[in-house]
């Protein structure tokens, strides 16, 4: 049976691992500190991330570096319109066995890695997208009637470009909902750009150090779920989720913007994501319990892709972030 000291050590270890990860990532990724934290939170919560940002902001570099630091297998799939599901999941190939007989052998696709980078996921057809999304949800692929389990930990980091929408297949809302977080990459500041120039135009830096491995991450996933959550904090999270839903009478506490511009509010998956992420954040902050701040911090990455806005919001340039910010500001903690 664990003692208080064990828990303290556990929390300390988690915090230290995260600090080391941030430090290593900082060697190759300039800025995006929040992004690194949120990706790590998604990892320790067992979720997948959708990264959105214009080309050249370091999305691929971020994911690849994460794979290296975590000592996990990493694969990258560039999504194109002609990409087939089998190109992701793998396929049966006719090969010679040691005795010289011809046999069908299952050749595993790129999805069989701990960390999968699905670059420009919205460029593939819905059929191919759904193959990946099924793998994300089920943690396994079925090929030729046989189930092939994926690696554990398994995490998909999909990217999409918000400006080149021509010839793309936007992800259906139901599939977007399966991403634990949607993270937006912001353009770097002046100082960050300057540092990027220094790093990328000088001699290559030494290889990244591994700070965590698969079993450690799986253990941390267990710890995250053990973080206690006070009823009052949980109630706050529930009220936040309810506030994203417009109702005809506006009696569920929905705020003004949500009432006007939201077609459908967050799904229950949004609440799960919000609470789990808040627990992970508390753990990484060295705290044994979840606070209101944890909930608020995780509100945007957890819910921004789960709100379906109406045409009026499009016309008036209202974003999900703006609506969520208003909700965070107006909904009382108690």
């Amino acid at each position: 049976m664990e003692s208080v000291d064990d828990i303290e050590k556990r929390i300390e270890r988690a915090g230290r691992a995260f600090d080391e990860l941030k430090a290593e990532m900082g060697r190759v990724i300039v800025g995006h500190a929040d992004l690194v934290e949120q990706v790590f939170i998604a990892l320790v919560c067992g979720g997948h991330c959708l990264l959105e940002g214009v080309p050249g902001l370091g999305k691929t570099l971020l994911v690849r570096s994460l794979g290296e630091i975590l000592s996990l297998s990493f694969s990258r799939v560039q999504f194109t319109p002609d990409l087939m599901p089998a190109d992701i999941t793998g396929t049966h190939m006719l090969t010679d066995d040691p005795s010289g007989r011809k046999v069908f052998d299952f050749q595993r696709g790129p999805v069989f890695a701990h960390i999968v980078l699905a670059d420009e996921i919205n460029r593939a057809t819905p059929k191919t997208q759904s193959a990946l999304l099924e793998a994300m949800q089920e943690q396994g692929v079925t090929v030729g009637g046989k189930l092939h389990l994926l690696e554990n930990p398994f995490m998909v980091l999909a990217t999409q470009n918000p400006i080149e929408m021509e010839g793309t297949y936007p992800l259906p809302e139901a599939q977007v909902d399966r991403f634990f977080f949607k993270l937006i990459l912001q353009f770097p500041s002046h100082a960050e750009l300057s540092r990027i120039a220094d790093i990328t135009t000088a001699a290559p830096a030494a290889a990244l150090r591994e700070v965590l491995d698969g079993p450690a991450i799986l253990q941390m996933r267990q710890w995250v779920r053990e973080v206690p959550l006070a009823e009052v904090v949980k109630d706050y999270a529930v009220r936040l989720i309810l506030s994203t839903h417009p109702t005809p009478d506006g009696k569920n506490g929905g705020e003004a913007l949500a009432q006007r511009f939201v077609l459908y509010g967050s799904s229950p998956r949004g609440l799960q994501s919000l609470i789990l992420a808040a627990k992970a954040r508390a753990l990484l902050a060295g705290r044994p319990n979840v606070s209101f701040d944890d909930i608020r911090s995780m509100l945007l990455p957890s819910l921004r892709h789960r709100l379906i806005l109406n045409l009026e919001a499009d016309a008036e340039g209202i974003s999900a972030e703006k609506i969520l910010s208003e909700i965070a500001e107006k909904v009382a903690e108690v």
């Binding site: 664990e2 828990i7 973080v227 006070a230 009823e231 904090v233």
Partner: protein
């Protein structure tokens, strides 16, 4: 149970007890404030209390009645526990450790994670006194209690409720009633040119003013009023001898007569065809005859006034006017005297006040001559000879009607009738006749209050211009 858990529970329980106490105080302040506010608002109703001293206990009674409602409405709920703990977390930057620890303790959690939460909460709360972290903060209700209490006490101390009752509901004293009556009497006297009544009104007003200024009691005023009433009675009786001709006339007849006399004088002033003692042409006599009250008086003259010159007629009209005015003056004085006597007998009262006003205004309910007057004897439910209430003041009906004997029946009419010949075909009415009739009607209307004063002269001139243009 671990020591950390125990300590945390004890600390948080003490905090919640403190918060409950603060809530009770707030409720009490609110209830006291509302009770005081209600007591102030209901101050004018203190007069209905059977014992005057009970007014000091009204806020207490209201508080007892209201407090249960406030305590029930703002009772402590589970949600308030949470709110208080979150407040503590915020105040001490505990990042919801206190809230979580309280819930874990309530759920009986004993795991290592729960123990760690207790331990961390205990470390922060050990040296903290909840009262210092969440001190008592008075809200506006608490600050309003003292001023409200002071206001209520001040109002009661200085008999604010009594003065309010006196201002709003208490009847006026005799001097004020008299002053009001005197003013209205003067107004009436001025409008009808009643010299004696005007003088009496002025005298009464002076008397009332003197009494109001001296704040003397009603009994003293009554004595003085008795003297004035006697004087008025004497003046009324002496006037009766002079104006005996019109004693049988009703108030309305006298007023109509005065109006017609004015119209007749105007007629004479504008008649330039007749000079001095020369006999008036028949045309003018016809016009005078169209004024019923004047005609009635002319008929009493020898030969029905035929053969009178303009000067004679003027003298006749002046005499009539003097007599009518004198009679009206006399009747007003008598009514005033009667009212004063009643006032002395009955003292004060709302009914008396309204009667007094009707006396001073000379209000009339009856239409005039020949119409049965609504006096005490013929009102529904009251039979002649029965007591109508000795303590009420007499109703003023314009004076003479109540004193006229044997004047029952249709009486005189001031209407003008046109009778055309019943010949077939179109009925014809000459322009002269028509204009004369219209003028007569206009003259009667001019004497009423329905025509604005400023327009009366214009109307008179208009009809004169019609006749002049015809000539």
């Amino acid at each position: 149970m671990s020591a950390a858990k125990e300590l945390v529970q004890a600390k948080l329980a003490s905090l919640l007890a403190w918060e409950r106490r603060k809530r009770c105080e707030q409720i009490l302040y609110t209830a006291v404030g509302v009770a005081l506010l209600l007591a102030i608002v209901l101050l004018p109703l203190d007069g209905h209390l059977p014992i005057r001293e009970l007014r000091w206990f009204i806020p207490g009674a209201l508080l007892l009645a209201l407090a249960p409602y406030f305590f029930y409405r703002r009772r402590w709920r589970a949600q308030d526990d949470r709110r208080a703990l979150v407040q503590l977390d915020r105040a001490m930057r505990l990042e919801e450790r206190a809230s979580t620890a309280w819930e874990l303790a309530a759920r009986g959690e004993t795991g290592a994670t729960a123990e760690l939460v207790f331990k961390q909460a205990q470390d922060r709360l050990r040296s903290v006194e909840p009262r210092t972290v969440l001190p008592r903060q008075r809200d506006w209700q608490a600050y309003a209690v003292v001023p409200l209490f002071a206001l209520w006490l001040g109002l009661l101390w200085f008999d604010g409720d009594r003065s309010f009752i006196e201002q709003r509901g208490a009847p006026k004293n005799l001097a004020h009633q008299l002053s009001e009556f005197a003013r209205e009497l003067q107004e009436k006297a001025k409008s009808e040119s009643l010299r004696e009544s005007l003088r009496a009104g002025q005298e009464l007003e002076q008397l009332a003013k003197k009494n109001i200024a001296a704040k003397s009691d009603d009994e003293e005023l009554k004595k003085e009023l008795a003297a004035v009433a006697q004087k008025l009675a004497a003046a009324g009786k002496s006037g009766a001898d002079k104006n005996s001709f019109s004693a049988g006339e009703s108030q309305q007849s006298l007023q109509d007569l005065k109006a017609e006399l004015d119209a007749a004088r105007d007629l004479l002033n504008f008649s330039d065809g007749v000079k001095g003692t020369q006999e008036l042409p028949q045309q003018w006599m016809d016009r005078l005859a169209s004024l019923p009250q004047v005609k009635k008086q002319l008929d009493r003259e020898p030969q029905g006034g035929q053969g009178l010159g303009q000067n004679d007629l003027k003298a006749f009209l002046d005499r009539l006017n003097q007599q009518a005015t004198g009679e009206l003056d006399r009747r007003t004085l008598l009514d005033a005297q009667q009212f004063l006597e009643q006032m002395m007998q009955s003292g004060q009262g709302q009914k008396n006040q309204s009667n007094m006003q009707s006396v001073a205004r000379g209000e009339q309910e009856s239409a005039g001559d020949g119409v049965r007057e609504k006096n005490h004897s013929n009102r529904p439910g009251k039979e002649p000879g029965k007591n109508d209430g000795a303590d009420s003041l007499p109703e003023f009906r314009g004076g003479a009607q109540t004193q006229v004997k044997g004047l029952l029946g249709a009486g005189d009419s001031s209407a003008v009738f046109f009778k055309g010949k019943p010949t077939p075909g179109k009925s014809e009415l000459g322009q002269d006749e028509l204009v004369a009739n219209y003028r007569r009607q206009a003259e009667q209307e001019l004497n009423s209050e329905r025509v604005p004063e400023a327009l009366k002269e214009t109307i008179r001139k208009y009809f004169l211009s019609l006749e002049e243009s015809k000539r």
